[in-house]
Amino acid sequence: MSGLILPRRTLLAAGLAMPFVKTAAAQAGEVIIRNPGGVYDDVMRKYVYDPFTQATGIKVTAVAATAAKLLAMFRANNVELDVIDAGDSILEQLRRQNALAPLDYGNWRWTKPDDIPAEVRLPTRAANMLYGSVLAYSKEAFPDGRHPKSWAEFWDATKFPGPRSLADMATGNPYLEFALLADGVPKDKLYPIDIDRAFRAMGRIRPQIRKFWDTGALSAQMMADKEVVLAGLWNGRVQVLMDRGAPLGIEWNENMIEVQAVGIFKDAKNVAGGQKLIDFMLQPEAQAGYCRDLTYGPTNKQAFALLPAEQLTRMPGSPASADKGFYKNIAWWEDNRDRVNRQWSRWILG
């Protein structure tokens, strides 16, 4: 459950106006957190929220909200939650609106700030886990290691025939990076993305695309139902299927590392409680717990020692896979998403 964006059920109007939490946030004994919901929520409750309540007596209530709703809330000066646990693109948008409080690294008790890499330990947000967009394949269609081993090969429908799926614009981040890799751009020269070139490359693979997925659930379902034999999707989604015995595999080469992070609304009713929750969440034991269950990568380097080596190979950003991958440049996306969106619409309808 990484959920850069929530399943898109929330009605526009409802999202704008309705207060969805009782005003209990006023009482100091509660922190209200936005998270992506579903399994993610269950796992975080088990390893973070409940232990945190035991340790501090502060209750944790989780709610769902889309990026648009979080922004509307801030704009309407009606902030009804304290902590945001979301893909870093949402947090970057909120940072640009000056909606976030600085994190109080100096007063952390459970986590040593230096254990979190500086790239993901920012003034107003800290990463709580890493996830990856990877190349997944059907072992039935491509047995014995004869699967595509790069995005260039993913793009090669003659050598590797079969229907495919990639992320839709609706996720916020269609895989322009993979298109450029397929077109021969080296990993370290991806940004700033040459949008026109990326779409030209996307056009070459489009006839093979059965559907662009817009929710993580859909991407997994299409692989499970054999609607597609190849897909670019979030590693956690495929891993769950593989753990259940589905004949699927992950190619870690050229994986894109993405960041899930936490931050606090500066106008939150319980900023202090939020600071404590983040501090608690990022400690090695908690991270090892939830990352093991979600198969995402920890950000606290002390957590690696608590995880079995076999599992580390399946974790984005871990020493075992980090050198095969690259970090997504979220700032570029925030600057250019509008343009990409427009171009995407033109491309898809053209």
Binding site: I5, P7, R8, R9, L12, A13, L16, A17, T66, A67, A68, L71, Q93, P163, D168, M169, A170, G172, R206, I209, R210, K211, F212, D214, A217, L218, Q221, D225, K226, E227, R337, D338, N341, R342, S345, R346, I348, L349, G350
Partner: protein
């Protein structure tokens, strides 16, 4: 009677006010807030020309109307006989049909879509059955394309059509049908010359409801459609959710609103011009 009319208006005033507040209020607020971001009227005009004049938006509008139109046709073709069956059914059969019709509303869109996958997928039940029977050699493409969008939207919108038609059909005086029969009309003529014309306002109302709702669809086409099945509401949603580009979303919303209202105007004219139809 001007006084009676005024009195009625006074009685209705609280309800009207509430509706205005609940339905018109938010849209008005959204449009003014969103367009307000652009600044002056000329700036709004510039943005409107740029947004609405783009090939993308025009293609999406055409797409949207075409899909909604096809869905309306399919829903009508399926809904009319079903509504008729409902008017004829009694007791348990009536309840059974009604439950089947309303079932879509008891499931979430997500659950429903996975059910469609099981049924319509390349390796779904329908394809397995047809392949097994040797009817087809290659799996049919039943979802992630236009066919899928139409199937999915039809399923969701069918109840609106059926319930609208049902009430229109129930209102037909059976004695008129008997009279037509007595005057020498065959069963088909009774249908064509009496029953159908008397339910025509229901057909128009049902088609209008389905079309208007269909034009605003975005979840089903997103889940069931292929890459090119983009409807205008999907673009609006992306402008809101992804890029927080409210002005553009507002302009597209206005287009959607204009399509809807002009259709309603057509309907209104249509029903006003036919004094024979019970208003």
């Amino acid at each position: 009677m001007p006084l009676g009319r005024l009195g009625a208006l006074l009685l209705l005033a609280p309800t009207l006010l509430l509706m205005l507040l609940i339905f018109v209020g938010p849209i008005g607020w959204f449009l003014s807030a969103a367009l307000g971001e652009l600044g002056s009227l000329s700036e709004i005009w510039e943005e409107a020309v740029a947004t609405l004049g783009s090939r993308t938006i025009l293609a999406a509008i055409l797409n949207t109307n075409w899909i909604a139109f096809l869905v309306t046709l399919v829903v009508l073709a399926l809904g009319y006989p079903l509504a008729y069956a409902l008017t004829r059914a009694k007791g348990l059969a009536f309840t059974a049909i009604l439950v089947c019709i309303l079932l879509p509303y008891f499931t979430s869109v997500i659950v429903r879509t996975y059910a469609w996958m099981v049924l319509l997928g390349r390796n779904g039940l329908i394809n397995q059955a047809l392949l097994g029977l040797g009817v087809i050699q290659q799996p049919l493409e039943l979802m992630y394309n236009r066919t899928g969008v139409i199937i999915g939207m039809t399923y969701v919108l069918l109840p609106y059509m059926i319930l609208t038609l049902y009430s229109a059909m129930k209102a037909v005086d059976p004695r008129l049908l008997q009279a037509a029969e007595g005057m020498g009309a065959s069963p088909f003529e009774v249908f064509r010359k009496v029953f159908f014309p008397l339910t025509l306002h229901g057909v128009v109302a049902g088609a209008l409801i389905v079309f208007i709702l269909g034009v605003g669809f975005f979840i089903t086409p997103a889940l069931m459609g292929g890459p090119g099945d983009i409807m205008i509401a999907m673009l609006i949603e992306r402008e809101i959710e992804l890029t927080q580009n409210w002005p553009v979303a507002a302009l597209m919303t206005l287009v959607l609103l204009a399509v809807t209202l002009s259709l309603y105007a057509v309907y209104h004219r249509f029903s006003a011009e036919r004094p024979g139809l019970a208003a």
